[in-house]
Structures are given as structure tokens and as C-alpha cells.
Amino acid sequence: MQRLRALFLAPARAVNLFLFIAPMAIVLAYSLLSRGIYGGVERPWTLESYGRLFDPLYGGILLRSFWISGLSTLVCLVLGFPMAMFIARSGARRNLYLNLVILPFWTSFLVRTYAWMFLLRDTGLINTFLQWTGVIHEPLPLLYNDGAVILGLVYGYLPFMVLPLYTTLEKLDKSLLEASADLGAKPWVTLTRVVIPLSAPGIRAGSILVFITCLGAYLTPDLLGGSKTVMIGNVIQNQFTSARDWPFGAAASLALMALVMVLLIVILRRDKEQLL
């Protein structure tokens, strides 16, 4: 019994050890070294990179990333909750509806970001349509700003919010809703006092998932923000390209991961439902 189980766990253990733990250890080593002249790392060992993390410039960027990610998460929540409710109540066709939500997600993140670039440009479809109907006379600057970035993030990660919400809402005991109605509560009250509190685990799971993913984004702010929106992901990516400061990039990466872990522990601590 034990041997078979050990055998079964072996491949995953190996992959995890060699392709996750080991690389992370190397990143840790990098973060403690000094930058090479043209990139790369070299001795001496130093804590300098971690010291640089406390620079107010990066604090500001982190706050900005939090702001954009938080806003995106909120929009996802507001948009996704009614959607999840709809799917949870749709009876026999719920799998179909669920798949229709997931479908865009499984069709290339780049393509979807590109689709929005196509739509939001000054000479893109939205502006062309609005001008054609006479609503506006000059094209609106829809692209290359924070709003476009948030739109891109929401569009990309809405399914991440809908899925956990749906899972929780589906398991909701219908009799509780009936009881609430029997006691004279209006639908709105049932919603706010019964449904939402009971779906808290789903809300937490979905929000955390979306928030963390948005935090690490760098393609979306780059493409849809016209490089004017600097998020923490851009800073990290930059260290390994034009800035050529790998130790700092490594330190920032590990800091980001530590932050993510803390968030996870704090927010999901109470949820007994384990994914793994």
C-alpha cells in the first residue's frame, strides 16, 4: 500500500523538486548576489537588492499594482456574481452555460488582449461606431490608459471569479432560501442577508485568484496601457531585460511571492475546503 502510493507520488515529487523548488532556490541565490556589468550575476554576496525594495519608488508601484488589481477584482466580483447565480439556477443546461463562460478563457490570452486593442483604437470599431451614430464627433481615447488595462484584466480573468462563485452557489441549500422567503424577507434582503454571506468562501477564493493573477500581470499593462502604466510585473520583467539587474529582479520576484503567500494564508485560512 505504502509502496504503491510512494511510487505514484514520485513523478510529481520529482517534477516539483527539480522544476519548482530548485529554480526557486537559484532565484534566491541570485537575489543575494551582485549584478554583473552587462547583466547576469557575480559575487560578492550582498543584501543590497533587498534593501532597494524599500525604495519609495517601488512602494508606489506596488500600491499602484494593488489599486489596479483591486479594482479589477471588484469589477470581476460585481459582474461575476449575478452571472454565477444565473448559471447555478439554470438547471439542466448549467454545464453548457458554464462552458460558454470558460470558452473565451481557453482561447489564447494574447488573442483576447489583441482583440481589445483592435476594438479600442481611435480608428477601432467602438469609436468608428460611435462616430457613425453621431454620439461623438472626435474619437475617444479608449486605449493606452489605466481603464483599458483594467478592462483587459477583467476580460481576461472574469472566469476565474465565476467558477469558484458558481461552485459555492451551486451547493447552496435551496431550503434556506425558501425559509427566508417564508419568514417574509423580500428577495433583495434574502440576497444580502442569506446568499452573499453563505457564498463567502467562493467570494474569497475567486477574489484571491483574480487579485493574485492581476498582481503579476505585465503583458496587459504593456500592450493596453501603452507602457504608461507601470505595475510590479513590469518592473520585474524590466530588471531582466533593459535594466540588467538580475539580483534586484530576483529579490522583487521573491518579495512578490512572499506577499502572495501572506495574502493566501490570511484570506483562505478559514476555508476548510482544500483544492489539493
Binding site: M1, L4, L7, F8, L9, P11, A12, R13, N16, L19, F20, I21, P23, M24, I26, V27, Y30, P82, M83, M85, F86, R89, Y97, N99, L100, V101, L103, P104, W106, T107, S108, F109, L110, V111, R112, Y114, A115, M117, F118, L119, L125, T128, Y155, L158, P187, G216, Y218, L223, G233, I236, Q237, F240, A250, L254, M257, V260, M261, L264, L275, L276
Partner: protein, 252 residues
């Protein structure tokens, strides 16, 4: 009443999710380069198929996704089974951690690993490094999906089989596995889609002969609007969409 309102809301959200892709598809048939409809044309599709770099990148993407998803599915399925029998907190936490690591951090760490290893072994970045990277990040997805399926499986069936004289392995292979197979296949398809779509990690660990489709699309998209990108995108959407529908059928 409330149902109708909810239904209409759902329609709006579905529109939000799908219309951009539809627009891309429609304009991939536009004979003009710009957002003004000039007539139906398959020209961009022809250009896409004639572009040898594009075709080669597509083939690379397919090979990588097939091999990586296969490896990840096998490793992940047996791992999920092992975890289901009795939990292994360290492994679980570690897998979960790898799931929430930002992509850029994963990419950088793997690049660091490969570069460090290649100082001792005289090999280079290539298809093999990309495949390894893809197995690394899709493993956790597979484990989650198969675990979810395993939780709906009744363990007493296995016990019954063993009571009737089957070994553990036989019980797994003949009783459990067939029952969870739809979940395994769904996990494999998930790993496949995640692999085909990946840009960030792949671009960091790709080598001379391992340009993938997302890399080519990104290069083209950076140069501006190009209906060829629309055409490629439409093809991708249709193919991956088809896969999702297939997965749906299999799971029933």
C-alpha cells in the same frame, strides 16, 4: 421577473465575453486592412498558411503541448490518486505554491535553472526545455482536476475489489481509473490548452528551434494591427473551442 432580469444580464455578459472574438473573426475576412468593411476575402488566411515561420511555430506549439500535457497528465493523475489515499501536506502546499507563482517569476526561475545546468551539460535551450517548463506549470492544474473527480468516487468500490483478491495496482487500473477517466481526460485537455496558450514562460526558455505560436503572434501584434493576426486568432479560437466542446461531451 427576477429570472428574466438575470437572464438578460447573462446575455449581456456573454456578449461582453464573446463579441470581441467575433469581431476579430469577422474582420479576418475583410479584404481591407482597416476597420472599414471592404469585402469578403480569404486572403489573410492564405497569407497565414503560406508563412513558413508561422506554420513551423504552430507545429512546434502542437508538439510541445501534446508531449507536455501527456507527461503532466500521467504524473498528475497518479499524484492525485496518491494524495487522495492519504494526504501529503508538503507536496500539496508546494504544488499549490507553484500554481499561484506569477508567471514571470516561474519563467525567470526556470531560465535560471536551465542556464545553471547548461554550464555543466553542453546542451542548449530548445524544445526540451520548453516541454519541461510546460510540464512544471501544468502539473498542479492536472492534480486539482483529477482530485475533484476522485472526490466523487466511492472508495468502497476499490475496497470491494481488493476484498475480491485484486492487488492495489489492479484495483486502481481496473476499478478507479476507468471511473475517473473523464476527469483525467478533462485534465489533459486543460494542460493542453494551458500549454498552447502560454507566452510568458515559453518566451523565456525557448531556444533556436522552438518558436511557438504565441511568440509569433506577439511579434506580429506588436507591429500593429494585422488581419493575418485576426485570421490566426480565429483559427485558434475555433480549434480550442472545439476541444472544449469535445471535453464537455466526454465528461458526460
Amino acid at each position: 421577473m427576477k429570472r428574466h432580469a438575470l437572464g438578460m444580464y447573462a446575455v449581456l455578459i456573454y456578449a461582453f465575453l464573446h463579441v470581441p472574438l467575433l469581431v476579430l473573426a469577422v474582420f479576418s475576412f475583410n479584404s481591407s486592412k482597416f476597420t472599414v468593411w471592404r469585402g469578403f476575402s480569404l486572403e489573410w488566411y492564405r497569407t497565414a498558411f503560406r508563412d513558413s515561420a508561422l506554420v513551423e511555430a504552430s507545429i512546434n506549439s502542437l508538439i510541445i503541448a501534446l508531449v507536455a500535457s501527456l507527461l503532466a497528465t500521467v504524473a498528475g493523475t497518479v499524484c492525485a490518486y496518491g494524495l487522495w489515499k492519504r494526504s501529503a501536506p508538503v507536496l500539496s502546499e508546494s504544488l499549490y505554491l507553484s500554481l499561484v507563482t506569477p508567471e514571470i517569476v516561474t519563467g525567470i526561475s526556470l531560465l535560471a535553472l536551465f542556464q545553471w545546468m547548461f554550464r555543466f551539460l553542453r546542451i542548449q535551450l530548445g524544445m526540451h526545455t520548453v516541454i519541461l517548463a510546460h510540464v512544471a506549470f501544468s502539473l498542479a492544474y492536472v492534480v486539482i482536476v483529477v482530485m475533484a473527480r476522485l472526490r466523487t468516487f466511492d472508495p468502497s468500490l476499490e475496497e470491494a475489489a481488493m476484498d475480491l483478491g485484486a492487488t492495489e495496482w489492479q484495483a486502481f487500473r481496473r476499478v478507479t481509473l476507468p471511473s475517473i477517466l473523464p476527469g483525467v481526460i478533462a485534465a489533459g485537455l486543460l494542460a493542453f490548452t494551458v500549454s498552447i496558450d502560454d507566452y510568458v514562460i515559453t518566451s523565456m526558455v525557448a531556444g533556436v528551434d522552438s518558436e511557438t505560436l504565441p511568440m509569433v503572434i506577439f511579434q506580429m501584434a506588436r507591429r500593429g494591427v494585422s488581419p493575418v493576426v485576426n485570421a490566426i486568432s480565429t483559427i485558434i479560437v475555433v480549434v480550442l473551442g472545439g476541444l472544449v466542446l469535445v471535453s464537455e461531451r466526454i465528461q458526460r
